[in-house]
Symmetry: C2
Subunit: 443 residues, 2 copies
């Protein structure tokens, strides 16, 4: 036995090849939709200056700082750097770095790993991929962007979650804070109330009520909050009922209406977005529209994609007011939940459609040619190149989930044909060489 | 001015969006070719145990170790971890972790960043992406894999470097070491001679001769080495001339011949691979076939893709002999050189083909619909959503390199048409709504 502990460090998992293939397919759909909507790819470094990360919300308990084991004399250029913990602070730094070159509104996407030294626990990772889009305005940014960003998310999940129903739930922070102010809740308490209400979906009515009472709100106020955040119906009905309370903050309401209107103009299916007055989002910096996305019937999985509107991306770095709206898919966490809940199918490990097998020594060189030919038709294909019995070669195809074997032996060489074996059904078919492309196309 | 230094930490650069788009296109071609050849994607964590990295060649001067600023009491699970500096050691660890599940020969690819705390200098990065393929055998691995791996690289650069000529230069370590042994060069000196000879392309005949003499070889021996490593001609001619020296190691020669033969069976263009007896590769662990890839006419850029055959991937981790053959593209370094040498074109920043512009307030909602429609045809498209003069909107399209503007004002609304403006030529064309798909297809 090896003296080395070769396991992954705690919190740093890896996918199986089959899971990884799903992951890659998801990334490619997400990337395609981002680009179809005009978002530019930006990849910032994994490493930024520690002080910059700390000044925009970096948690010193979770941030990974880089050291070298042996530091060369006089080379201090490594110290003071740390690993990014999200894509938002790097975006702020990117904008600060390139302020004069950027054409606003600035639409960028970022896909890649972020690292947080959180306590390791199930479903929590210390390295995980996030897929972010943001639109940053210079001074101002139209509300239509809030709709566009939601529409992008809907396009993505319409392609990724065929059959699974999902809904983007939308609210506006100003509606909630305005409502709380009308209820005379103290300014300092509002943050707490927002956090409690935000958990409504997760912990349910009773617990939210209990938490509101425990934080010192009266029964009347708690009841009003719950009645308000639980208003249901169609999007228009919810807004009407909310307006009837007489406690609605006008700006927030108008913003939300404008976003809904734009979503309709964009042709988004009304079933895919829903006003939900309980959505608050924990983070302080959201100031308007907020989104969460849930799987209908699997709400327990939590939000699969969240975001919102903020007033200030990077003023501490740029001295300028840059409002933005963005949304993020926590892809590692999301897929790990979906795999576990069997809501996404993981099929085979290998990308190969065909394994070309030489059934005789003399067929080996021909098999190299045949694989190249099949590849030229556009299919993923590989040769089995080792000297093993044919049974071993079928085992290899089975283990990797390669669906078809193409077998060539001396017989096939003389008859100028191949045997095509369906690895699942076991059925085999002889195909003459000149029909190969046509026959493979039929599969 | 901001008190923060927002620049990227030294050695951690970022692409412009236009460069990043090329980078993404390259990754997608590389990934596609890897998969078309049956390589499975594996993404190992960025972080591995420090002792594992150090035990397989990690340089303690360059390795980045992770620390947290504030470590929670009793949580030691973060210490002793470091960032990967290549994909090979993580591959060895992956194989050790999954030894019983892996179907051999194991063909995996890895694309992603690795980190090295090298001294910062031009063209050197502390974070850079590598694209690796390896085939790992259990006990044995056929030489046809050495050809297959070279064929993959040739497929990649045939797609990426249209017009640019490149050549994969192939040698076998055993030929060189055998030749040096025949010349009675001492075992302890062979490593040095290999390193000197490996620089032949880079530093030229004179300097290599000088270095060989300086390390203590006689003039006769130095001359023989240079004559041997400079043998030129077609692949077959080179082998014949080398054989004539009578100093050729048989195993190495036969291996090389077998690899060349397999490349021919694979249908690879003979102009794309070339025997070069000077190729040695610096790294100790190569034991047979070695490759370098150079751009014809830009040899000064150095090898754009290198690799070779090794006897032992991971014995220290697995207790098993696992031979392998692999090759790596240092994509960040390569593209940064190609951009600088203007050998690869960088065009526009934005993926959008069309910018939809509302020329009147009343046209805004219609413009959202039109962009959605164009997107449904499959094109990347975006709306300009801010309240700016039309000149500003054209400026935005120009700055991002969006090639076409689709303009709709009150006139177009009433006539049910759009104006299509070619941003480069400035020409404009009226298109009636029902012809939109057909007309855009013509572009």
């Amino acid at each position: 036995m090896s003296k080395y502990n070769v396991s992954c460090p705690s919190g740093f998992p890896e996918w199986t090849p089959a899971e990884e293939r799903v992951y890659q397919q998801w990334v490619s759909v997400i990337r395609d939709v981002f680009e179809k909507n005009g978002f530019m790819p930006i990849t910032t470094p994994l490493v930024e200056r520690e002080e910059n990360l700390l000044s925009k919300g970096g948690n010193p308990k979770e941030m990974y700082v880089l050291k070298r084991i042996l530091d060369e004399e006089g080379d201090n250029s490594h110290s003071g750097n740390a690993l990014r913990f999200d894509h938002t602070v790097p975006l702020a730094l990117y904008v600060a770095r390139h302020l004069n070159d950027i054409a606003f509104p600035f639409k960028r996407y970022a896909i890649g790993p972020v690292l947080r030294g959180e306590r390791a626990q199930k479903g929590r990772f210390r390295q995980f991929d996030q897929c972010d889009i943001d639109v940053i305005g210079s001074g101002e940014l139209s509300l239509a962007n809030d709709a566009m960003v939601a529409a992008v998310i809907i396009q993505i999940f319409e392609r990724l979650l065929e059959g699974e129903k999902f809904v983007v739930r939308i609210n506006n922070r100003k509606i909630l804070t305005g409502f709380f102010e009308q209820l005379k809740i103290k300014k300092k308490d509002i943050k707490n109330v927002l956090a409690i209400v935000d958990d409504l979906e997760k912990i349910g009515h009773e617990k939210v009520q209990k938490n509101l009472l425990e934080m010192g709100l009266s029964e009347t106020v708690s009841k009003k909050i719950l009645e308000f955040t639980e208003i249901s119906g169609t999007n228009d009905e919810i807004l009407k009922k909310a307006e009837k309370t007489g406690l609605l903050q006008k700006t927030g309401l108008n913003e939300l209406k404008e976003v809904l209107q734009a979503l309709r103009f964009l042709g988004v299916d009304e079933k895919k977005f829903k006003v939900d007055l309980s959505i608050a989002r924990g983070l302080d910096y959201y100031t308007g529209t907020v989104y969460e996305t849930t799987l209908v019937g699997s709400e327990g999985l939590g939000s699969i994609c969240s975001g919102g509107r903020y007033d200030d991306l990077a003023e501490i770095f740029t001295g300028k007011k840059l409002p933005g709206v963005g949304i993020s898919i926590g892809l590692t966490r999301l897929l790990s939940k979906l795999f576990e809940a069997k809501l996404v199918n993981v099929d085979r490990s290998s990308p190969s459609h065909f394994l070309v097998i030489a059934a005789s020594e003399g067929a080996k060189s021909k098999c190299l040619k045949i694989a190249s030919l099949i590849r030229s038709f556009g299919y993923p294909v590989e040769n089995y190149l080792e000297d093993k019995k044919i049974g071993k070669q079928f085992e290899y195809a089975d283990k990797l989930g390669i669906p078809y074997a193409v077998i060539v032996g001396d017989d096939e060489l003389s008859k100028k044909c191949v045997q095509l074996k369906n690895m699942k059904s076991g059925t085999q078919k002889e195909i003459v060489a000149k029909d190969l492309e046509k026959e493979l196309k039929k599969l």
